[in-house]
Symmetry: C2
Amino acid sequence: VKRGSVSETAIIERLERLLGGASSRNVVAGIGDDAAVLRSRRAPLVWTVDTSVDGVHFDQRWLSPEDIGARSFHAAVSDLAAMGARPLAALSSVIVPSTFPERRLLALASGQAEAARTLACPIVGGNLSRGGELSVTTTVLGAAKRPLTRAGARAGDEVWLLGDVGLAAAGLLLLRRRGARRVPGELRTALDVCVGAWRRPAARIADGLRLVGRARAAIDVSDGLATDAAHLGRRSRVRIVLDEAALGRALRPELVASSALLRVTPLSLALSGGEDYALLATGPSGKRPRGAACIGRVERGKGVELVDEKGARRPLAATGFDHFRAPKRR
Amino acid sequence: VKRGSVSETAIIERLERLLGGASSRNVVAGIGDDAAVLRSRRAPLVWTVDTSVDGVHFDQRWLSPEDIGARSFHAAVSDLAAMGARPLAALSSVIVPSTFPERRLLALASGQAEAARTLACPIVGGNLSRGGELSVTTTVLGAAKRPLTRAGARAGDEVWLLGDVGLAAAGLLLLRRRGARRVPGELRTALDVCVGAWRRPAARIADGLRLVGRARAAIDVSDGLATDAAHLGRRSRVRIVLDEAALGRALRPELVASSALLRVTPLSLALSGGEDYALLATGPSGKRPRGAACIGRVERGKGVELVDEKGARRPLAATGFDHFRAPKRR
């Protein structure tokens, strides 16, 4: 936490203790100076920033401060997973309203610190500012000998999915409809899985590293499978064809169970729901890594299509959640 | 600009064109993927993040969107100047209210792009989020063979000032009191200098590089000379003694002229005003770089003291502007 922006109060020192605990051989100097100092790296550096805003990216009604801290951290690190990078360190910048209690701020920082430990990505500095609206901006630096981009997909590649899609969207929908209170007991576990996926997503660093040398292109699914497949396809100048049956087989039974309760199809949640932070990649069939489901194929052309079991195709509009266009929820 | 957080509208593409124009041999892949990729560096990496919040760190009444963009960028890069680092690249994350017009957002990005060119620090990615309050978070990565920290000052060192102090604080005070409208013509230039210093501060990268191999410790003056001297002193476990006469000689005539109009002493503005982004450093007298004013001395002990021409000393409280404690101005 950069001292320059904040008062010399106990809260800063507590935050520094909470966040500055992790050490790493990559870190020469952490919290407490004008900037952090990291050991030089031989591999190319991979670098990203991600912001979570109250009422837009998260909702304090259904998330504890720890959840908000952990979730925003994993969301930022997920971009490195998609690049096949290993995280080195992170900086955190938090805007805090004066009405936000100190104990909640410390709890948020605990969530960040927990995520930093889980991901072996120490927080080496940051910034704390007053403002009218809570937001958490996390910037993460990593290293990748051979960074995976969105741009390398080729016609003939398989489309791979690593991790779950649709669960987080189902979880959020369940919370919004307050459905969890009046559900049959046998559905409880399914709902818990979905709500848990939304509350505590995990950046898939190990999966991203497994893709290096195998995949030709990758992206993390933050906005929905259809939208993110379209991003990858556009950058690679190819068409992504998703196989409805194969995608259906890749979905978790908990998603199918929850979908019935929500009266939506599992497929629509899988295609349009973001925030699970699964990885979507393409590569030659012989190189598919263990644990990756093949859910489609890359073709010449553009756009994203869904092909059903009879071979009928329909184009998929990018229908993922759009933070920039969506009205604030509160 | 990370596409994942925003809609695929013309504004994102315009922002990408505005910000993504600069190229650099350090940048392997810029805007458009999950993360930016930078060439590896032999030197240690120096890394910082800084956030500017509307109504806290800037005021739209007196700053154009271009000013806000340029100013927030220089403020972030200034941390690297204080470390004796050379900037490599930056990421920008902006939270934008839906009421903020698109043309103002593009103007803000132009200000960032202009600062990025001035500082040879290309913007290689970022994030755009909706929110209730405008804020700009800039994270900057640099390299420094021998990073300067706040921690190396030794008793016997001189205290050096590179750049101006007090001007920006005078400029803001003038704007608040709307004094600029009814001032004698001969004062106009002085006021313009002060208001300009507040609106468009400059990160002193060249001065920071000049300090490497000469200074033992450095910090940038963002919160006020007294406060930032106290930060440096505490980290180095020394006392900083500022010489009132020497500091007075280092002040700009425009500050002295404006102070008279504002009915405050130039010294109080110099000691408590931040946001000029001068550099404060300590080092042995034989190594003082050209352009640095010697304004004091390092002693054993702690705290910051001001010594007058008769040798009388008084302790200085850290009275710099405190964003975290200050109420919002609007």
